[in-house]
Every structure is written in C-alpha cells, then in structure tokens.
C-alpha cells in the first residue's frame, strides 16, 4: 500500500467509515496474525489477540487527538502492546516475570506449534532460527523482512532509535545466517553472544 492510499484510508477510518475498516482488515489480518503467532504459545491465542488488534485500532483511531501517521506502525504497536498485556496478565497468575514467561514460551509450546507449520511447509530451518531469537531481535527481523516495514516504522513500533534498529537487525541476521549455515542451531550460545 503506498503512502497516499494509506493516508486516505486513515482519514476514512477516522471519520468512522466501516468499509475503510474492512479494507484495512483485509490488508493486514494475515500480517498481524503472523507477527503475533511468533510471540505466543498457541494458534488460538494468536487468533484472539489478532482480532482484538483490529477492534482496538477501530476504537483508537477515532479517539486520537493526533492523527495516525503510519498505519503499519499504528497496527503493529497495538499488536505488540496486546501481546505484552497478554503476558502481563499471565504473570499476575503465576507470579513469573514477564520476560521469563516470554522465554518459556519460546520453549516447548512454540516448538509444538511450529512443528505443525513445519510439517505443512518446508520452511522449518528458517522458522526455527527466527523463533529462537530474542524477542527484540525477532520483532525487528519479522517487521523488516517479512512484513516489509521501513526502519522508521520499526523504530516507532519498538521504541528504539533508527540506529538501534539497524544494529539489532544486523545482529539478528548474523545469528540467523550462522544457524542456517551451521546446520545445528544453537540458540542458547547465540543468546549469550547477544547479551
């Protein structure tokens, strides 16, 4: 979607145009779902959170004082925040820190979830490599090279500077490359290197 189309769509959304919402939904549902899927445990969680992203977007876009500049950044920011809320809520239940939960999620449950995807698609190695990344690396890689956001937009979504986004992206790509070429992914080793 080019910038002018996006801008017109935002204007229509802000006026409460339901058809504009439908267009946004059609354009972004797969993208948002994919982004969320890499961050949660189950497909059902990804579906529920993704649906809520659009509901909140509809609510927020009309109540904002400052107009939305980038639909990309706007939607992914909502998605990111909803995932954080999701883990924060789980942390209230189990008394485990949010970061620990996110790390745990990258363990058993996601392995099972993505095994199903791997079986139907031959993207197992790269998917495993991305899944094994730290959350901040995963965000940058997915948003840049899968969802096609600009560096500026990624900076908005992640709250980093543009320079930090570039550095993070470079490091993430190096880790993925090492894993794809080594043939024996060692996520824990890479995690230590990046700390």
């Amino acid at each position: 979607m080019n910038r002018r189309t996006s801008k017109k769509l935002i204007e229509r959304l802000q006026l409460g145009d339901a058809e504009a919402f439908s267009e946004v939904y059609n354009q972004y549902i797969a993208k948002i779902y994919r982004y969320v899927l890499f961050k949660v445990r189950t497909r059902e969680e990804a579906e529920d959170i993704s649906a809520e992203v659009f509901l909140r977007a509809w609510q927020n876009v009309r109540n904002r004082q400052r107009p939305v500049q980038s639909l990309n950044a706007f939607l992914y920011q909502i998605a990111k925040n909803l995932v954080i809320d999701h883990y924060r809520q789980r942390a209230q239940i189990t008394d485990v820190a949010v970061e620990e939960i996110a790390d745990q999620v990258q363990g058993v449950q996601q392995q099972r979830l993505f095994q199903k995807i791997e079986q139907s698609m031959e993207i197992g190695r790269v998917e495993r490599a991305v899944r094994g990344l730290k959350d901040e690396y995963k965000d940058v890689v997915l948003l840049r090279h899968v969802e096609g956001l600009s560096i500026n937009e990624i900076a908005q979504v992640t709250g980093k500077t543009r320079g930090a986004v570039r550095v993070t992206l470079h490091r993430a790509l190096k880790i993925i490359r090492d894993q794809l070429t080594s043939g024996t992914p060692d996520v824990s080793q890479h995690d230590h290197e990046t700390q």
Partner: protein
C-alpha cells in the same frame, strides 16, 4: 538443505521472506471479519439489542439448540455456526448461553472483549471484568450440573476455572489506573472476594474425583489470584484519608463492617486449625495460633481508631500465617468432628455439607497436595485436600 557455506545477506533475507507463507485459517479470517463488521455496524445503530441482554432467553435457547445440532468438529462447527448466527443477526443471544468447549464459546468471549474495548471508563471496565469472572463461575456451575457423580471433570471445567483466573488477574492489572480510595474500589474488592468464594463453593459442591491434578492446580491458582486481587483493591480503597469516620461515615462504616467480618471468619478458622490430636505438634501450633490472634486483635484495634490501612495489614499478616499453618497441618490429623469454617479449598473426598457461603475469603488449600511435587504433570500428582472440609456449616 543448505550447504555448509557462508550465506550472503541477500540469501538470508530471501530465506526469511519465506515466512510470508504462514497464514491464518481462511475460515477464521472470514468469521472474524463478519463479527468485527457486525459489531462496528451495531455501534452505529444504538437501537439494536445490547450485548448479552437476557431479555429474549426463550428465542436464544431455541436458536442455540438449532446451532448445536449443526456443529460437528469443533473448528468446523465454530465457523459454520458463526457464519449462520452472524448472518441471522442472533449472534448475541446464541453465544450468551454457550459453555467452554462449545463452538460458540469463543464468540461469547470475543463479545465480552468487545464490550471491554468499547467502554472507556476505567471503573466500568473493571466492573465488567468482575462480571465476566462471575460468568465463568456460572459456566462452571452449569458444567458441573451436567456431570455424573464421580465423573472426572472435563477440560471444559479446567477452562472455565482458568478463564476465571485470567479475569481476576486482569482486574488486578487495572487497579492502579482507578482513582484510589473510592467506593467503587471497595465494591470491586468485595465482588472479587464474593466471586472467589462462589467458585470455591461450586468446586467443593462438585466433589470432583481426586485424580485431577490439573483441576487442583487450576483452582489453587484461581483462588490465590482472586485473593491477591481482592486484597489489592481493598488496600487501594482504604488508603485515602477521606475514608476516615469524620468525613465519609457511611463508606467508613461499610469498610469497618467488612473488615470485622473478615476478622471473625479468620479467627474461627484459626481456632478450627488449632484442634489437633498430635501432641508433639500442638505446642508449635498453639504458638502460631497465639500469633494469629495477636494480629487479629491488633487489626480490631486499628479499625476501631479508624486506621483502616494498618488494620488491613494486620489482617493480611494473620491470613498469611493461617495459610502457613494449613500447609504445616498436612501431616497432622484433624479431629473427626471438625467443622468447616472457611471457603476456598480444593474439593475434598467428602461431599461438602455446608449450605452457607464460605467466609473469611478463600485461602490456599493445604493438605496432602503440598507434600507431593508442585508440578501438576507429575505422575503421582497432588492429592486433593482431605484433612478438612472448609466450607462453613
């Protein structure tokens, strides 16, 4: 499979781009679009039926029976039923009566979330969440009523309990955003406490099979989470000076009464726990009881002079000691005629005979469950509490 050579950056990026092929289920995409558009258009027409209005229960029940008859596999049934109800405009009524495990249950949850998002007032949001927690308790009650005696509870029961936990946990997340010290905060504390006690009642009354470690774990979490949430809300409610007896006597009296009732229940529970037969442990237990009584007496004194925060702190301290005492008692026997006085336990092997609501707020169950591994996945699994029924008579 890639050769063991260094890849170019462009090659790595090309590999990553393959992830674009991951896509959501087409049926889910369509169904979600339908729900979202329906909700958005409904907002533009306020004369339409409000969400979860039970005003047309008969029609809803007939329609739901029809939908249930059509549903096959859970996923297919969900999408099919959803397409039908959305096009017919009866989504709200049909979903309202659904239970965990049924095709329209996720629609029901989705509509609850929609309500939350559309409400901007923080206090109303929290009140809605408490209402949703109570919905989970009602669902649990219905599920239990459908079970045969001695039947192992299904995953749906566990789902209702864990959803309850999520709702009360999310209430706690919202509390810092609410204005402190107001009546609504106090009402929230009481409501969460009440919902938790209702949950404990339903679980206790169900007398689930003791070989359900997953349910035991879920219920423990639910009660603990509700306890923490209720406590947090109460602390926020009493912190502001305007709750002093001179400025808002009515509100202060209500809090006083509530806290004093809590003290009475905790005192009764402590006294019940003091009834042990094992002489070698009685000294230690009595010492714990004395400490608990000191806390409760201090709480009463604080409340009398209007220092509600300090009173609440002493109540919390007493409660923590009681919980610890219950943990200690897992190896001790209890007098056969000990009467239950406190709610919120795991179901025991004996059917509860209590007909009154649990008092004092649910406490974490102790008992044989805690001597085994805490891991609900362990083979032996934690046994349910057998040392005492803890619903009041």
């Amino acid at each position: 499979m890639l050769a063991n050579t260094t890849m170019k950056r462009s090659e790595v990026i090309a590999e990553i781009k393959q992830l674009e092929r991951i896509a959501p289920r087409a049926g889910w995409v369509e169904a979600t679009r339908a729900i979202l558009m329906s909700e958005i258009r409904r907002q533009g027409r306020p004369e339409m039926v409000e969400v979860f209005s039970p005003a047309v229960p008969v029609e809803g029940m007939h329609f739901w029976s029809f939908i249930r008859g059509l549903a096959g596999q859970p996923v297919v049934g969900f999408v099919t039923a959803l397409a039908l109800v959305v096009t017919s405009g009866l989504t709200v009524n049909a979903a309202f009566y659904s239970l965990p495990g049924e095709p329209l249950y996720r629609v029901k949850i989705f509509f609850e979330r929609t309500q939350l998002i559309m409400v901007s007032d923080s206090t109303k949001k929290v009140e809605l969440k408490v209402e949703f927690a109570r919905n989970r308790v009602k669902e649990l009650e219905k599920l239990v009523s459908q079970m045969r005696v001695g039947e192992t509870p299904t995953a749906a029961v566990s789902q209702a309990v864990s959803h309850f936990t999520q709702e009360v946990a999310s209430v706690r997340l919202e509390l810092p955003r609410l204005p402190a010290g107001n009546r609504a905060m106090f009402n929230i504390a009481v409501s969460v406490d009440q919902a938790s006690r209702e949950l404990a009642e339903k679980v206790q009354a169900a007398s689930f099979s003791t070989t359900t470690p997953a349910i035991s774990q879920a219920v423990r979490q639910a009660l603990a989470t509700a306890d923490v949430t209720s406590q947090a809300a109460l602390e926020a409610a009493v912190v502001v000076p305007k709750f002093s007896t001179t400025s808002q006597p009515l509100a202060a009296n209500e809090v006083n009464v509530y806290l004093r009732e809590k003290i009475v229940r905790l005192r009764a529970l402590a006294q019940q726990l003091a009834g042990v037969k094992n002489g070698s442990e009685s000294t230690r237990l009595q010492s714990s009881i004395v400490s608990i009584e000191a806390d409760l007496t201090a709480a009463e004194n604080h409340i009398t002079v209007g220092n509600l925060s300090a009173g609440l702190a002493k109540i919390s301290s007493a409660k923590a000691k009681i919980d610890a005492l219950k943990m200690d008692k897992k190896n001790l026997s209890v007098t056969p005629d000990a009467k239950p006085v406190e709610g919120g336990a795991l179901p025991s092997q004996e059917r509860a005979t209590s007909t009154t609501a649990p008092v004092g707020g649910p406490t974490l169950p102790a008992g044989p469950a805690e001597t085994n591994s805490q891991d609900p996945q362990s083979g032996s699994g934690p046994a349910l509490e057998t040392t005492q029924n803890i619903l009041p008579q």
